[in-house]
Subunit: 193 residues, 2 copies
């Protein structure tokens, strides 16, 4: 019922995560009302996204060059690696300005039913050996999958003389004890200081 | 902190309605993980959106040709016009299959502080005169702005011998009386049948 080019763009938007069909319709109508120059620039940025960017060959962060800006920064502590699920986690941690080591992006979490070879775990092991890393911080999401993945990664370093830590669990700053879930609250009690 | 092409695309997505900065980041990461061909096709669909589509010259619906498919359909009742705010409203009404007349897209609602010349009200008046329209259905949204706009449009046809109606107000099907707001519930009582 929609004209074909309109429908096609709705389908593209609706295929994105957290975008439902109704929202996709509204986005396409919004774009239709914009200046053509804006659409052309938007389109160019999408089509060139993968042309101008790649994965950092050391940490698998998103990067413009072979090494990402963080790996290329020699003032950072090369002996501590913070292991994260996705590149967006790096940007979140960097915003805190509390970590001056390097990162390692696993590219997801361990899924029991899937082949987990795509996760960059062996690459992490090699990096640790090669560069004499002394500490690994496991910064997976505090979810069941994140916990399982952290456990799995920690086990790979059981035989190696290296400190392995996880991010602390507790109450969110600005949160409300009344509304904290049971697991969060018990972590907060256990890890009190 | 993000690589430039990544940040630029985040900004583009974040400029869309109902897309916040966090969601924009997740959308761009998702796209980054897709096949290049998918991105190129997505980009092409965006850049060609306005090339392949225009506004129907009669009803201002989105159209591939000079006349939209509805206006071009001579089996539809040319004497009844349903006036809507936006093209998406047409598609919603068409899905009901309860209306076989033509449409007229105003392109928005009357804003007290703005110049309302962009609304296609005079074009509607001309259409009604030219084509001997006998009935107008005002299908604005049931909001304050929609109501004001409907009132304004209805007044323009005060001197003309024509039936002007509005869509009925009442309970949403599948809704819950307990949760219906006061205005909806009073409309439902007043318009009971």
């Amino acid at each position: 019922m929609y004209p074909k080019p309109f429908k096609k763009l709705i389908d593209h938007f609706a295929s994105l995560p957290s975008v439902g069909p109704k929202m996709a319709e509204r986005l396409v109508l919004y774009l239709f009302k914009q200046q053509p120059e804006k659409l052309v620039d938007f389109a160019k940025t999408i089509s060139e996204l993968k042309t101008n960017l790649k994965y950092c060959k050391q940490c698998f962060n998103i990067s413009e060059g072979d090494l990402c800006l963080i790996c290329a920064d020699t003032t950072r502590d090369q002996k501590i690696i913070c292991v994260v699920e996705e590149p967006l986690d790096i940007f979140a941690i960097e915003k805190t300005k509390k970590f001056a080591g390097l990162y390692h992006v696993l590219g997801g979490v361990i899924e029991p039913t899937e082949n987990n070879n795509k996760l960059k775990i062996s690459e992490l092991e090699q990096r640790v050996q090669r560069n004499g890393v002394t500490e690994i911080i496991l910064a997976m999401n505090p979810t069941t999958e994140g916990d399982a993945t952290a456990l799995y990664v920690a086990r790979s370093f059981k035989e190696v003389d290296i400190i392995v830590t996880r991010l602390a669990r507790g109450l969110s700053t600005g949160g409300d004890i009344e509304y904290a879930d049971e697991l969060t609250l018990s972590s907060a009690i256990q890890n009190r200081r």
